[in-house]
Amino acid sequence: MRRSRKQQHQSPSSNHTDTRSNAASVQDGQGEASLSRELEPSITAIQQLMGNSADLKIRRFHISEAHVLGAVLYVDGLIDKQILTTHIIEPLLDKQELSIDQGIDALLHEAQYNALTASHTSTVTSIKDAIIALLSGQAFIMFDGCSQGVLADTRGGKEREVTEPATQTVLRGPRDSFTESICTNTALIRRKIKDANLWSRAWVIGDVTKTNVILMHMNGIADNQLLDEVSRRLDHIQIDGILESGYIEELIEGRTFTPFPTIQNTDRPDAAAAALLEGRMVILIDGTPFVLIVPALFVQFFQASEDYYQRWDISTLIRLLRFLAFTIAMLGPSVYIAVTTFHHELIPTPLLISLAAQREGVPVPAFIEALIMETMFEVLREAGVRMGRAIGTSISIVGTLVIGQAAVEAGLVTAGMVIVVSATAIANFVAPSFNMGISTRILRFALMGLAASFGLYGITLGIILITLHLCNLRSFGIPFMSALAPYQGQDQQDVFLRLPRWLMLKRPQSIPNRNHVREDKQTLSEHVKGQGDST
């Protein structure tokens, strides 16, 4: 199966990846061995290599006309039993034509091409290949006296349905989301982009887990150099296992020591398709509904799928709101600390008196107060995420009562601080992508420290440092702040604003691509003409 999949892809690099991972997977010399001509020793060899695992099932049979013994091996749970019975076992037992007259190899050939009605079949000679195939859900058929075996695709078993996206929800827009199965995921993308130019390359990464990884790109749009760079980084991964896209993300990102994410992830097929159309690449990993989008730029984390589904005016306003929320989430508590402990003259008099009244009797400085509240909130949030849904709500009730009311009434914290912390927390949730929200959470604490020691001056220093750092970041060689710094006039169509569809004629220039034109002049003139007609 693996070999056959490789035939579908054009990657020259996958060859050596396979060899490497195969070589590493073999723990003893026996794995290299070919199948024996006799049935039972082969079965025993496979059983031994798999440690006599209980879920390796063997179904022996006898073809009476030909007087040949055979066996079907499969791993329970990875296969669809219905397929196994109707497309493999039944045909083998029913087929009258199977005869030993032409020799055992002819019988095998006959079985593979005429008898088995499974959707995909192939032959193997090495035990190692057979085991890998078994573990990816194929059935392995052997005949006594033949040193080859037949693999038949019977993959099945339990898989999660395509459900609504859990993280990036929209009011208007497609409601499907990726699942844990990579085949479903590629199909979901292909259903959006029915074009022969949607190309993919496959890797098997993880010496032990042998996880399928697929890199998709639009041929003719995506930049070749960028494609080579991403492929190169994927080639170089050496790890025992990949359980989630986060593994790949950490292994291929350019800069680890930064609070900002330089790779985007999504569980929305439409977001992945949109990225492909902009010349980005999508990395799908088997076993997780989160796919990676590379390269990722700063502004991208403020764009939600829905921006493109709603009308442009509200999309633009909401996008501006997100940038505002980002600022609040990052600076809220620090500005409050700075202003109330250093710059009292900045606060309007009535507000100052009211804040001063709240602070009467509060035993700790504003900074410590903010730190306690922020930490408490992070603890609550973490508790809410880790606990199940049912307990999660009770945590939030306790949290609201403890943090909000009781703490203020007990005079431990000021009401003003509670308002600031909760406003910050809510602003934090506005971020369309969770990982940009994490950056603001981390930086918020750093800025609070600066504010407590240097006031607004410290905040200014912090902002300068953050800006310098952002401008210094790169995602796969592309400046992270692209479209803003370096400035791309053309791209302003989709940074702070979201222009009407027919004005966004070109693909973003920040991401190198081979075909700039998204919508050609022809279409535009027709569009304008069409408008003229209707008026």
């Binding site: 020591f257 109330t340 402990t341 250093f342 009292h344 003259e345 008099t349 100052l352 008196i353 009211s354 804040l355 001063a356 009244a357 709240q358 602070r359 009467e360 009797g361 509060v362 400085p365 504003a366 407590a452 020691s453 240097f454 006031g455 001056y457 410290g458 220093l461 300068i464 440092l465 310098l468 750092h469 210094n472």
Partner: protein, 398 residues
């Protein structure tokens, strides 16, 4: 990474060196002063500072609601700065001056001159320049700052709010901020004017909680009259009517009410807009000042029998109002020239603009000699814009 580390270190070092006048103080470590009173005594100056007692003015805490919303600390010192610092001996917290809204100058201190304490007020970095100055009439500033008020529980806020509302709706007062005062003091061509404040009623009971325990308060703070300064020293007071005329001349009237006689009764005009232009020229070697004014008014109240539907009658009202204002303006100008001998209107500044040569020669003794001798002309134009919701007075059947 290495470069970033170095860059970061440089910034941290720079941050440590560059910190200017920063000072970390929690909100419950400062005493927020809202008003300051300055009086003269034998020792030098007597300073009264009104600071907020936040616990008592907070909306939700009822526990300390029966304590006073503010505390007024009073101490003396040779300089104001000294007295201000000495207040820490009686106040648990350091006085924080950035939020001052009103400074009350005692009449006696004002007569000795504003220069000395304006210096401190403008030199201290903590003070902003956007607070208003008042002069307490016939009493010390200390007494003014010790009256307990109602409605606005913080007395300084009461003064502040009265000043804003009276200058907006009645125009007998003028808001003067510190920077305006400094500008006036440092320029030779204009003298300063500050609004006055007084206690109506009994100051003694006014300083106790008893003051606010009945409907007819024992003591009230009233903004009245305006103090006229000459060379930074208080010389005379203008009464309410004169203060209003003064504001007309300087174009400070936002809205007010002016009465004109009308047969057996009065007719009240509500002034809507007031455009005033003050010019000065040199003619035949002598300065000549001119006040040109345009007013838009509404008829607010009619006590006599007059037909306001007739254009002729409206014209009559207009010319009556013009005459009256011209008379009042002329008499205030004369009073300023002859009695105050102080150019509170700023004719000197206008002259400086129109003929700088001449100004250079006369500026030394402008207030004393040339301003009193200046010829003045007044031109007022009044236009009635509206007559209100009804037409004729009820006594006239339609």
């Amino acid at each position: 990474m290495n470069r970033l580390t170095r860059c970061f270190l440089c910034l941290i070092i720079a941050a440590l060196l560059l910190t200017g006048c920063w000072n970390r103080r929690e909100l419950n470590e400062i005493a927020i002063a809202l008003g300051v009173g300055i009086d003269k005594n034998d020792e030098g100056y007597k300073i009264s500072v009104q600071v907020v007692n936040p616990g008592a003015v907070a909306p939700q805490q009822n526990a300390s609601a029966n304590t006073a919303p503010v505390i007024t600390y009073t101490l003396s010192g040779a300089t104001i700065f000294e007295a201000m610092r000495r207040i820490t001996t009686i106040s648990p917290r350091k006085i924080y001056l950035s939020h001052i809204r009103i400074i009350v100058v005692g009449e006696e201190a004002a007569r000795e001159g504003l220069h000395t304490f304006v210096d401190l007020l403008s030199r201290d970095h903590e003070l902003r320049t956007d607070f208003y100055l008042l002069v307490s009439r016939d009493m010390t500033a200390e007494k003014i700052l010790k009256v307990i008020t109602l409605l606005e529980r913080i007395p300084v806020n009461k003064m502040y709010a009265s000043l804003l509302s009276s200058s907006a709706a009645w125009a007998s007062t003028q808001k003067v901020t510190l920077d305006q005062l400094i500008q006036d003091i440092s320029s030779k061509g204009k003298s300063s004017v500050l609004p006055g404040i007084n206690i109506v009623g009994n100051p003694k009971i006014g300083a106790t909680q008893e003051n606010v325990q009945r409907l007819d308060l024992h003591a009230l703070l009233q903004l009245e009259d305006m103090a006229v300064f000459k060379d930074g020293k208080l010389t005379a007071w203008m009464n309410e009517a004169e203060s209003k005329v003064f504001n007309f001349i300087t174009g400070n009237v936002k809205s007010t009410v002016n009465n004109i006689p009308c047969k057996e009764g009065n007719l009240a005009l509500e002034v809507l807009t007031n455009k005033s232009k003050l010019t000065a020229d040199v003619r035949h070697g002598r300065p000549e000042g001119k006040v040109k004014m345009e007013l838009d008014v509404n008829i607010g109240e009619i006590q006599c029998e007059i037909d306001v539907t007739q254009e002729a009658d409206i014209r009559r009202i207009e010319s009556e109002a013009e005459d009256m204002l011209e008379r009042e303006i002329a008499s205030l100008l004369e009073k300023a020239q002859q009695q105050f001998r102080s150019d509170i209107f700023g004719f000197g500044m206008a002259l400086h603009r129109s003929s700088p040569e001449y100004w250079r020669r006369v500026k030394a003794d402008w207030h004393q000699e040339h301003f009193p001798a200046m010829k003045t002309a007044v031109e007022v134009k009044v236009s009635v814009r509206g007559i209100g919701s009804i037409t004729n007075p009820l006594s006239i059947p339609d």
